[in-house]
Amino acid sequence: MTLSSQTKNLLKVHQDVDPDIKPNAGWRDLPIGGVIPQGGTASQFATGDWRTIRPVWSKEKCINCHRCWLYCPDMAWISEDGKIQGVDLTYCKGCGICANVCPTKVHAIEMHPEDDFKDDEAVKEG
């Protein structure tokens, strides 16, 4: 069976995928099925701008049980050398799971409306 030029192109895509997909790529230029020929691409998607409530963390109260780190669906809690360092707001969607799983007696994470931080951002930007 002879291969059409389109097929040759497709085979080329299969064998030699260009990880750098051009924004103006046509449908023939893409790997099929929505495949991205790289791993860990979720890090390129800043989900933090979905957030309406923000976790506020108290370093003093935190006992480093790592429940927040374990349960966070976006891996937004940062841990170094067994110690929680805080939350990466680039990815935190504000789901509040961390505040919910933080032990009741510890209560190191509280969720606050994003509106409370509007003035801070304005000061920062100003």
């Binding site: 069976m1 097929t7 085979l11 299969h14 924004p23 046509g26 449908w27 929505g34 790289q38 791993g39």
Partner: protein
């Protein structure tokens, strides 16, 4: 290549047994399945092949068909040759994942035993299950008998996995009528099937740790459309693959397949078009009519997705009238699914035959020679213009009035 033909083994098998034998010879890496009447036997038999060590398949007993298709998609994405099997409500429960399989371009091969959809609950044959999935992006091949089920399944592996295609495919047979009916089936030697299907290499296996990749990602307004455009093109490309694979298969088996089969159509003036097991009974009726001097013919559709519209339109040109038999209704008030496809295909034809639709056999209602003969006679009257009155274009055949 003709050697394989000589050493085929004849066995008396039900459709389900023939499908299970094909799966044994295909020897997929992973099968994830859930039982449902009338398909249960296929995976039940296959699971004994697994426990007897006749195949090297990882068999995953899941808790539902949604999970069966999910696990099969996952296995296929990992790079495994993956299969499952289902029927009726099972296919309905797979719905969400059918589209995922097609969109992710994983070439899953699935025997699908046609059975009516609830409600009312019914375990017998009609095509409402697979017809409901006709726009899910799966290829669909319909089988007339156990032999075709066996042959189509083996060819399906090659079609789905072809780099021009990479789409999932379901191969159907009529529930109970074929799935539980025993007849002689010619089986190829195991080695011949192994050589025919070859090794499977998915171009984007997740288990390739050297080259990490992301499968099934979020794709929004920027690229979703392009992926769907390519998916549509794969369906167009699959047509030449289906014919090329059929040709190769004929070389090892001696059995020829195409998009559809024509029966006594050379000089036919009117014809009936069917899917599945009804074709066998309809051929018998055509033989009787031919003996009586009637110029009647039959077309049996094998490949429903992609739909061979152009080819069919050419095959029907010159006929004065056709009766299109649907074992499913669309409840659209426009007729059955096969009728709608064929009418659309004929829209651009120079010589359009008149079309009437027969919806028949729902829930396993028997379709016997007198009923098919009645359809032929009505189509003949339409062809000769002697119909007393035009009558409805969509007719329910064999229903108690």
């Amino acid at each position: 290549m003709a050697v394989a033909v000589e050493i085929q083994k004849t066995a008396a098998l039900t459709g389900n047994e023939a499908a299970a034998q094909a799966m044994r010879q295909i020897n997929p890496d992973v099968v994830a399945a859930y039982p449902i009447t009338p398909q249960t036997e296929i995976v039940q038999l296959f699971s004994t092949f697994v426990s007897d060590g006749l195949v090297k398949t990882e068999f995953v007993a899941v808790e539902s068909e949604h999970s069966a298709m999910s696990a099969t998609v996952g296995a296929a994405a990992a790079g495994a040759r993956s299969m499952t099997a289902t029927s009726s409500q099972g296919l309905a429960l797979m719905w969400e994942m059918l589209y995922v399989a097609a969109g992710m371009r994983v070439p899953i091969v699935m025997p699908m035993v046609n059975r009516a959809l609830s409600s009312p609950i019914n375990i017998h044959c009609d095509h409402s299950d697979s017809m409901g999935a006709r726009d899910s992006g799966w290829l669909q091949i319909y089988s007339e008998n156990s032999q075709e089920m066996y042959d189509n399944l083996i060819q399906a592996v090659r079609i789905a996995e072809h780099p021009n295609v990479l789409l999932p495919i379901m191969v159907t047979m009529d529930g109970f009528i074929i799935s539980h009916g025993m007849e002689n089936v010619e089986l190829l030697p195991d080695q011949a099937v192994k050589d025919f299907i070859g090794e499977y290499h998915f171009p984007y296996p997740l288990l390739d740790v050297e080259q990490a990749k992301t499968l099934g990602p979020l794709t929004l307004q920027d690229f979703y459309f392009e992926h769907k455009r390519e998916q549509a093109e794969a369906m167009y490309r699959s047509k030449e693959v289906i014919l090329a694979v059929a040709e190769e298969y004929a070389a090892i088996s001696g059995r020829k397949y195409g998009f559809f089969e024509t029966y006594k159509m050379e000089d036919a003036e009117y014809a009936v078009i069917v899917l599945g097991s009804t074709a066998g009974t309809a051929k018998y009726v055509v033989d009787q009519l031919r003996q009586a001097g009637e110029k009647s013919g039959l077309v049996k559709i094998r490949v429903f997705r992609p739909f061979p519209g152009q080819e069919l339109s050419e095959a029907l040109s010159g006929l004065k009238a056709v009766g299109i038999m649907d074992r499913a209704d669309t409840f659209s008030t426009q007729g059955g699914p096969l009728y709608l496809e064929i009418k659309a295909a004929l829209y651009h034809a120079a010589n359009q035959p008149q079309c009437i639709n027969y919806i028949y056999g729902l829930g396993g209602r028997d379709i016997d020679p007198p009923l098919i003969r009645q359809a032929f006679m009505e189509v003949k009257d339409l062809a000769s213009g002697s119909a007393a009155e035009a009558g409805p274009t969509v007719r329910y055949l064999g229903v108690r009035e």
